[in-house]
Every structure is written in structure tokens, then in C-alpha cells.
Subunit: 202 residues, 4 copies
DNA sequence: CATGAATGAGTTTTCATTCAT
DNA sequence: AATGAATGAAAACTCATTCAT
């Protein structure tokens, strides 16, 4: 308590409740209660519930991006960098479970239009850039980098979700490894000479 | 009156609105209005909004599973069968866009607990079974079939989402092909000989 | 079923529900359901819920009066007659529990104004007349007959209520006797000279 | 605002309306209106209409008991004490007419189960205790004290009711006296020798 | 800053009654 | 007669937001 200001307490409470039951289902009263303050005070710090949600979306997405960026900072090789980014998703999900749920669970209609990519542009962008570079360098096979990013991020998110639901036998580290490995296979440049595996429309 | 009973009209209206704005944000009044009936009548047919959501989740998930099952009925080879299932996701998304959105967008807390897999057990199960068989036959590399199903379904869903948002340059057929191809790579059995990719080299 | 017409079934169902939860809380739907018919049909036989309640109040009050009248028909002596009337209340309460509850539980504001006496004028009148006669003959001490009727009827009703609630140790017959005895004491003419009315001369 | 808080205003308005038309027939809107506040505010202070009714039942029953207790505090002799308690019923009915009506009119199904005695255990208990003591001391004839309490309380209530309806010629004081006198006769120990009055089991 | 009572515009829900069949 | 879908009006209840203190 000592350190955390009321404003932070409100943000924290709101994030937890938004993650748990969705923005619509969470009431300002609950939020205030959980934050140990009054409803009125919530309005001193924020413009309202929507503002709270928007603020949280922004800061959460940015924090997510920061985690990824920090972890991947040193990696230069696209393959290694991508691995790290994926691991970052799992790390973030573990370290900030409410934030992770909130980002995932927000109904599309709640998400600000210009950062539509479900996870916000910030985190996505790092993936996209890495893949673009990897393709250019021949480290990855040629694919639409946005599509590939979508695949990989979705895979990681779903893996977290399934793990949380207790539907996976393996432990988190193993699941992370598997998912990293899977993404490698997804993007691996085809071996041998030219004429490799076109997506070969069957 | 005509052919479609009011009950069906209500279901249809609710599905559209739930998909568009989420269960919480859709009001019973809107639903009734859109269904061309009275709010009271809605309560004659359903126990309330939650019941409506539950019913829709169930029937929609089942319809999804039926589409997949029908399309994959003739395929026996796990690889071909998996391809078909993935294509089925895209087909369903195109043919029943509201149902698809609704299944995706439902907040986890709205989803009946025992069919938690986001898409309900019905559709998921078909994937899991196919992968289990494929692994047994050596057609796929050994992976946790639930995890692999999660990956693949999530990839397909995200691809649909990105396409809907207009973030992908390719047309739908091409995106479908790409996603099918990606899943093949994900599960491809390793080339017998030594030097195979262990998932955990790192 | 065979014999009882739907109309009777409706009356019976309504009486039971009115007694159980009150007129307001009972819904026409419940009534129809319990009567094994449809809501619409209820409106063929009655003008609505209020009409049903009014009809039931009337017939039930009359039936009550009939029971009392029948039992007391042969008694001519005011004392004996009053005893019999009181016993009649207990008899009616036992034979027609729903009717009895309904008559008691109706909120004053539901009771037709001109038969205000809680049990309707019919049953009350028999008591009043008997007491008037008893007073005139010197069998009872001089009291306001309406007030005395109120006392006695209220006593009997309360006794039934307490018995139903299981708050009384004695059996029904004993409670009846006690209440009859109590009413005798209430009205016993004072012993004037010697040889006066012991409360229990009978 | 003034002195009386809104919460009290709500309780007061609800009590008046509940007494007048019954709990079911009174609407939250009316209550709020009459209390000079908004419906929403009613729900800030109470969980709903039922909670309001429950609260009122409790506080009203307790206030009733308090009145009785206060008035009877100094009386030690069972007979005098019982007289005072009966007078207390009339006093309470006059001073708190709405509370009195509400206690009487509540449909049994609204009454909390463990204080079923129509007037709540609180007021009843004082009567029961007094009668038990009086019987033990030989001041009253032997009767089931709960039954006797029922009789007497019911008599007093009915007397008030009849008076309110204008069906009694006498004034309130006279009616009170008569009812007190009646209760004395009800419980008077039989004179003379042993082998006193059995209720003459016929 | 902070509180929590108060508001009002909504929402969900109920139900007596009507109506097409 | 009978059904049960449909209605509309009103009920209970919710909740983001404001306001006096």
C-alpha cells in the first residue's frame, strides 16, 4: 500500500477485473471497491470506464512491446531474434497474466481502430520487422510477414491459453520450446537448391 | 409467420448482434427489434440473454463441427484430412461470418465450462483425432495433438481475422493455401535420416 | 380428470396458488399450467385474474357459510349453537385448507368493500346473530356482538394457524375443545346471584 | 437532507405503501417517489423490494416489542402485566398504524420462517412468558401459553381492525377495556375447590 | 484529494391480456 | 372450446456518472 498510489491501485483493480470478466461486465463499483477507494475518486483520476480501458490497453500493449524489445535487443540474427520474441510472449503471459488476458479478451469492437491487430501494433510490429528482415536475408522462406506474424503470435497465445486451461500435459518450458520449434518449421527456408517447396497449392 | 418462426428470427438477430458488439453490449431490445418482435416474446422462447447466448454457442459450435465433418468425411489420409479441415475453417468463416465471429469473440467467462476450447469441443475434436491418427501412422511428427490442434486452429482463425481487417494483400484462396501449407510444415514428419530437427536443440 | 371440467380445474388451481403465495404473486401462467390448460383458455372462462379472485372469494366465503349453517342448523340454544359454529371453523379449515388460507390471507385491499369482515359477511353473520340472540336470552353477558364475533372468529383462526405451524403441542381435537371452552368463558353471563352461570355448566 | 436521511425516508415510504396495498402491489417507483428520491438510490440502500420488506418486518416487530416491553416494565403481577400488554397492542396500533397494518397484512410467505408467529417472536414472547408465569403462580388457569397468547393477540388485533372499519359503536378506550376484560375472563383461574375446571373434555 | 449518496437513463425481466389458428 | 405465440405496458434492477460535503 505504502508505495502504490490510489491511481495505480485503480489501474490494477480494473485490469484484473477487465481480464476476468471483460470490460462490459466489470462495474466501476467493483473496480473502486477492489482498489480500496471510492467510485467518485475513480473519476478524479480517469474520465470514466472507457478511459480506463483505453489507458490500460495502451499501457499494457506498450509494456508487452517493451518486454519483447528488451529481451530481443541483443539478438541480431532473425532466427534467434524470432525465437526470443516468441519466448517473450510466454514470459509476458506468465509475468503479467491479467494484462495478457486483457489484451486477448478485449472484444474487437473495443479495440482502438488504428491498432487493430488484436495485440496492438507495438508488439506485432517487432515480429513483422524481424520476419521481413529474415525473409530478405534468406533466413526465412518467402511469406507475407503480416500473415506469418499472425500465425506465430496466435500459436503462442493459444498455447498459453491451453496451458492455462490445463489441457496440455507438458510443462511451460516444454510448451514454449515446442512452440518455438514449430515457428522455426513454419518459416524455415527450403533446403537445397531452387525450386524448393512452393506453397505448392496441392 | 411466413416460414421462419419468430424463434429463429430471434436467434438470427441475436447472433448477428452478439458477433458485432459482443454479448454484453447487445441489448435485448435491439435483438427483439431486429428480429421484428417484442422483447416479451423473446422471454417466451428463452430464459434471457444468457440463455440465448448459451443456446447460440451450442448450436453454432455444432454447426461448425458439422461443416468440418461433412467436408472431411471422405478423406482418409491424415494429411489430406487435415488440409480439408483447415479449409473447412475458412469455408465456415466465409459462409457463416457472424457465427464465426461469435465463436471467436465470446469472452471466456461466457463459454460453458466443459467445452472450453474456445471453439467448443466439437470442432476441436476432429482436429485432435486426425492428428493423433497421423502421428500414429508416421504421417506427422510426434507432437502433443491438443497443442498442435491449438496451433493450427489459431492460425486459421487469425488468418481469417487479418484478412477481414484488410491487412493481407492476398485473396482468400491464396491465404487459405498458405495456411494449409503452413500447417503441413508444422506437422511434417522429419526426413528419416540422421540430422533430424530435435525440438530442443537450442 | 374425467369428471372435472377445465373451468373447475382452473378454479382449483387458482385457489391453491392464491392461498399459497397470495393473489398478486400467483401468475396466470402458473394457474393455467397447474390446471393443465392454456393461459388463453383461462380467459374464455373468466374475465381475468381479478375476476378469478373475486369469484373464488365469493364462492369460498359462501361455502364456508354453508358449512357453518349446515352444522348449526339443528342447534337452537345459543350456547350450543355457538359451540357448533366454532367447531365449524375448525372443520372447514381442515376440510378446505386452501380455501381457509385464501380467505385469511387476502390483503384487505383485495376484499370487496361491502363484505369487509375479513371472512366475508356470510360466515360472520351467523356468529353475530347467534350472539345477539344469546345476549337477549341472558345466555351470554352483554357485549357488542360484532366485537365478540371478531374475538371468537379471530381466536379460532389463530388457533388453526398456530396448529398448522406446529407450534401447539395438543392435537386438533383438543385445540378445538380448548377454543370452544375459551369462547364460553368469554361470553358467560355473570353469576348474578348464586347458582349463576359457571362458565362450564353445559 | 435535513435531518432525516434518504434511507429513513425510503423506509417510511415503503412502510406506508406496504401497509396500504401490500408488498406485492407496492412498486419501487412509488416508494422512491413518495420518499422523494430516485429508484436507483433505493437500490443503493437496500437489495431490493424484498430486502426492504424484510428489514421493515424486523425493525417493526422489534419496535412493537419495545413498546410492549417499555409499558409492561414495571408490572410484576401477571394479571396486571397481561392487561398492560394488551393495552400496549392498542397503543401501538394507534401510534404506529402503518407498522401495525404491515405486520398484520404481510402474507405468510413474506414472513421470515423462524419468526413465524405473524407478529414476530418478539412481541409474542412477552405474552407467552407472562402467561407461563401466571399459570405457574395460579393466577391463570392452566392453558397452553402459546395458544392463549394466540387467542389474546388475535382478539386485540381483530378489535383494532373492526374499530378501524367503523364497525364498532364504542370508542377506542371502551373497546380496549372490553378486550382487556375479555382476556381476563379467558384466563381467570377457576374459583373454589380443587378438581377445578377441566376444559371438560366432553 | 476523497467520499459515498444521489441521479437518471438505461437494461433486463415479468405478466396480464389478446389474437391468430 | 382450446392453444400457445405474441404483445405492450410496466415492473424490478443496474450502473456510469455527478455532486455535495
Amino acid at each position: 500500500m505504502a508505495r502504490t498510489t490510489k491511481k495505480e491501485a485503480i489501474l490494477e483493480a480494473a485490469l484484473a477485473l477487465f481480464a476476468e470478466k471483460g470490460v462490459d461486465a466489470a462495474t466501476t463499483r467493483e473496480i473502486a471497491e477492489r482498489a480500496g477507494t471510492s467510485e467518485g475518486n475513480l473519476y478524479r483520476h480517469f474520465d470514466g470506464k472507457d478511459d480506463l480501458a483505453r489507458t490500460l490497453f495502451e499501457t499494457t500493449a506498450r509494456r508487452f512491446a517493451d518486454v519483447l524489445e528488451t529481451e530481443a535487443r541483443d539478438e541480431d540474427d532473425p532466427r534467434a531474434r524470432l525465437d526470443t520474441l516468441i519466448r517473450g510472449v510466454f514470459t509476458f503471459a506468465e509475468d503479467h497474466p491479467a494484462a495478457f488476458s486483457f489484451l486477448l479478451a478485449s472484444h474487437p469492437s473495443h479495440i482502438p481502430k488504428d491498432r487493430d491487430l488484436r495485440l496492438g501494433p507495438y508488439p506485432m510490429r517487432l515480429f513483422v520487422e524481424t520476419i521481413v528482415r529474415g525473409v530478405a536475408q534468406g533466413a526465412f522462406r518467402p511469406v507475407d510477414p503480416v500473415l506469418a506474424t499472425g500465425w506465430i503470435v496466435a500459436m503462442a497465445q493459444r498455447a498459453v491459453l491451453l496451458a492455462r486451461m490445463g489441457l496440455l500435459a507438458d510443462d511451460r518450458e516444454r510448451i514454449t520450446q515446442e512452440t518455438v520449434e514449430a515457428s522455426r518449421r513454419l518459416l524455415a527456408a527450403d533446403p537445397v537448391g531452387p525450386g524448393g517447396q512452393q506453397p505448392d497449392d496441392r
